[in-house]
C-alpha cells in the first residue's frame, strides 16, 4: 500500500486513470512515462522511458511503468533474512 505522502503517489494515480486509455490505444506491453498528473510518452522499453524522463525532468520522482491489463504483477520473490 502506497501512502498519500509517497513521492510516487501522484504519478501512480495518474497512471491508473489513464491505464484503460493506454490499453485501448494499443500500448499494451509498452512503458508509460508519468510525471505529476500527465502521461508524457509511451516507450518500447523501460530504459527508453527512464532516459527520456531524466532528460525532461532531471533527478526527481517520475514513474515508468508497463502498460498491462493486470493491475499489478505477481510479487517478486525476495528470500532475505526477515
Amino acid at each position: 500500500m502506497i501512502h498519500a505522502s509517497d513521492p510516487l503517489a501522484g504519478p501512480l494515480a495518474t497512471f491508473s486513470r489513464h491505464q484503460g486509455d493506454l490499453l485501448e490505444a494499443g500500448h499494451a506491453g509498452k512503458w508509460a512515462l508519468v510525471y505529476g498528473d500527465t502521461v508524457h510518452g509511451v516507450f518500447e522499453s523501460r530504459h527508453g522511458g527512464l532516459a527520456d524522463g531524466y532528460r525532461r525532468f532531471g533527478n526527481v520522482p517520475f514513474l515508468v511503468r508497463e502498460v498491462q491489463a493486470q493491475a499489478r504483477p505477481s510479487p517478486t520473490r525476495w528470500f532475505a533474512d526477515s
Binding site: 517520475f62 514513474l63 520473490r77
Partner: protein, 146 residues
C-alpha cells in the same frame, strides 16, 4: 573476462560494491556520479532481484521510478520502491551501468547493505564452492548489460 573472487564467510558470500546514480541519470546531466558510495553486499541466490537496504538510495540521492510488490521468506508482501543504479564490483571491474533494484523498507541485514540477487547473477557465472569456502563471479564483459 573480469572475475570476482572471494572467501565465503560464516555470514555468506560477501563483496564490496559501489552504488551510484545510473548511467542514464548521469549522461542526461540529472545526477552526479560523484555521489557513488561503497558498501558491503551479500550474494543471495534466492532473491529474484537486487535489494538495497533502506537509506542507501537516499545517501546516493536517488528517487524511485516505480513500486512493486515483494514477497519475503515468510510469505509477507510489501510494496517497495524501484530504483535504477550504477552498480560495480570494484575489485573485479565488473560494471552494471543501469541496474534495476528495489529498496527494502522493512528488513535490515547485519551483513550487507545490498543483496545481490539473480538480476545480477544471470549476467554471469557464479560458483559457490562450499568445500573450499570460496566463491567467484565472472561476467563475459566488464560492462554487463542491465
Amino acid at each position: 573476462m573480469p572475475i570476482l573472487r572471494g572467501r565465503i564467510r560464516p555470514e555468506g558470500a560477501l563483496a564490496t560494491v559501489t552504488i551510484g546514480p545510473s548511467l542514464f541519470a548521469v549522461e542526461s546531466g540529472a545526477a552526479d556520479a560523484a555521489r557513488t558510495i561503497r558498501v558491503q553486499a551479500i550474494f543471495d541466490t534466492g532473491a529474484d532481484i537486487t535489494v538495497l537496504q533502506e537509506g542507501v538510495a537516499e545517501r546516493v540521492g536517488l528517487f524511485p521510478h516505480d513500486v512493486i510488490d515483494v514477497a519475503g521468506m515468510h510469505g509477507s508482501t510489501a510494496s517497495c520502491h524501484v530504483y535504477d543504479v550504477h552498480l560495480t564490483f570494484p575489485d573485479a571491474g565488473i560494471v552494471f551501468p543501469n541496474l534495476t533494484v528495489v529498496e527494502s523498507r522493512t528488513t535490515s541485514s547485519a551483513h550487507g547493505q545490498v543483496l545481490i540477487g539473480r538480476s545480477v547473477l544471470w549476467k554471469g557465472v557464479f560458483v559457490y564452492d562450499g568445500l573450499r569456502h570460496t566463491y567467484s563471479f565472472e561476467t563475459p564483459d566488464p560492462a554487463a548489460t542491465s
